[in-house]
């Protein structure tokens, strides 16, 4: 019983720690950013650099939502379906 409780506490602490580290990393990377002018955006404007996903990738995200217990951040649906076997 004690082992189960400590496992849950460790998971919760790891989750909170991971969230904080990700957010701190984000702030760190953001802080020193130099403005990129429109004429310097040839790489950023490339189709492959966009943060959006193509329709094939969205279909796979839907499969992940159904076949895995977790929700896909930035994914498409988060309910509305039976997820039948």
């Amino acid at each position: 019983m004690n082992l189960n409780c400590s496992h849950k506490v460790m998971n919760k602490r790891f989750f909170i720690f991971s969230c904080c580290m990700l957010f701190a990393f984000f702030l760190f990377m953001v802080d020193g950013c130099k403005t990129v002018e429109p004429y310097q955006r040839v790489y950023l404007n490339d189709h492959e650099m966009q943060m959006t996903k193509n329709a094939g990738s969205k279909f796979e995200d839907y499969v992940h939502v159904v076949r895995e217990g977790a929700t896909v951040p930035g994914g498409t649906k988060s309910s509305g379906g039976c997820g039948c076997n």
Binding site: M51, F59, E68, G69, P73, G83, C84
Partner: protein, 411 residues
């Protein structure tokens, strides 16, 4: 002497010449256009832990999913989006809800349609989008509603997105039955229909999905995706069986509320002149006991200006939900129980490749063939489930010449 005349002439011209006067009738206008996306996806899986038969039995299933997305951008930069499609599902395990003995031939169809309108506020660099739709299958009917706010900083270095989604589901069977065409009842396994296991039939899902992106430099962009989701109502699947250590059998029973927290981060880097590397990491936790991590790396190689190959690999792990146990391992006195291996502890991997062809060629006047994507993935789960996914996507753009009016008669 000639030099003096030349210099004097140039100076005289400088004093008498006038700069270009801006044509007062010129107005910058956006071009109205329509984007059409045609998608066909195929999914095939197999495994031996079907929840319909209590955590054992075939999970053989195929899905054929045609889909079409239409998006019209008005000159005001407002956007109208319509999406529709149908998932044709063929499943061997669906036969076992009422023990109809046949091969992998029992099929079901999920039809869905969604529409959204995005209003652009140019002075605020903001878009506000409202969406709704409907989705129907033999054992559920769902209505989604969404509200999304997008903001782009004037420097275009940072974007913010705040979205709220709500799904209102009704899990009763009967709407597609030719004998009824209205919701009748929940479907239980045939041998368990001697009682009503649930006195509710609705499910409510509320999602707060956010996205923040930051341009780091000329070649890097970072995205952060925090999300919170809450579900309430009938979260069990009413035709899933659970077998107990004392050989008794019941319908799956899960808590009627679930809180999910997730955080994702994505970093895209353009390396050299032809290579893009996209890395993605996410963590997840919910109050059912599931803690999950996922990492994906995708590399895009520009073979030519029109052709890109993108191989990728994804690794995932999750702990099991508190209420999961395999076949015949639940004690009969447990309050909540499931043998659905989607909620079990497992690891999985997915690998595949995306082929993109972008010819940007005109098929007809005003109809441009933008690009085609062909994507294949193989997915394998540590409990033995494996599947193949294949998607083909065609994108077209149609410029609407009729909306281009005379510049001297603006709207």
């Amino acid at each position: 002497m000639k030099r003096r005349y030349l210099v004097f002439g140039v100076m005289a011209a400088a004093f008498s010449s006038k700069a270009q006067v801006q044509d007062s009738s010129f107005q910058k206008k956006n071009l109205a256009k329509s984007d059409i996306e045609v998608v066909f996806s195929y999914y095939n899986q197999n495994g031996n832990h079907s929840a319909i038969t209590g955590g054992i039995g075939t999970e053989k299933l195929s899905v054929y999913a045609p889909d079409i997305n239409y998006s019209h951008t008005y000159k005001s930069a407002d956007v109208l989006q319509i999406n529709g499609g149908a998932d044709v599902i063929t499943s061997a395990s669906l036969d076992n809800i009422d023990f109809v003995v046949s091969s992998a031939s029992r099929h079901d169809v999920r039809t869905h349609i969604n529409a959204g309108y995005s209003k652009h506020f140019s002075a605020l660099n903001t878009d506000l989008e409202l969406g709704t739709g409907a989705s129907i299958e033999s054992v559920y009917f769902s209505i989604p509603v969404s509200l999304t706010l997008n903001y782009v900083e004037p420097s275009a270095m940072r974007t913010y997105q705040f979205a709220f989604e709500a799904f209102f589901d009704d899990l009763r069977w009967g709407r597609l039955s030719p004998d009824h065409f209205h919701p009748v009842k929940l479907i239980y396994p045939v041998e368990l229909r001697y009682k009503n296991w649930f006195n509710i039939y609705r499910r409510y899902s509320y999602n707060f999905k956010n996205a923040f992106t930051q341009v780091l430099n000329k070649r890097m962009i970072l995205g952060l995706y925090p999300e919170v989701a809450y579900q309430q109502g009938l979260l069990s699947t009413t035709y899933h069986r659970v077998f107990f250590t004392d050989s008794s059998e019941k319908v799956e029973n899960l808590p009627q509320q679930r809180l999910k927290l997730s955080l994702g981060a994505q970093l895209n880097i353009f390396i050299g002149g032809r290579t893009i590397v996209k890395t993605y990491y996410s963590i997840y936790r919910d109050n059912w006991g599931i803690v999950a991590n996922a990492v994906q790396v995708e590399s895009g190689f520009k073979i030519s200006p029109r052709v890109t190959l993108s191989p990728y690999v994804r690794l995932y792990e999750q702990t099991k939900a508190h209420y999961f146990k395999p076949y015949r391992q639940h004690a009969a006195d447990e309050t909540y129980y499931t043998s659905d291996y989607d909620l079990a502890e497992f690891t999985d991997y997915k690998t595949g490749i995306n082929f993109r062809l972008a010819p940007f060629s005109f098929l007809k006047k005003n109809l441009l063939f933008d690009e085609m994507n062909l994507r294949y993935s193989f997915y394998h789960r540590s409990d033995g489930l494996s599947c193949h996914m294949l998607s083909t996507v065609f994108n077209f753009t149609r410029a609407n010449n009729k909306s281009e009016k005379n510049i001297h008669n603006p709207e």
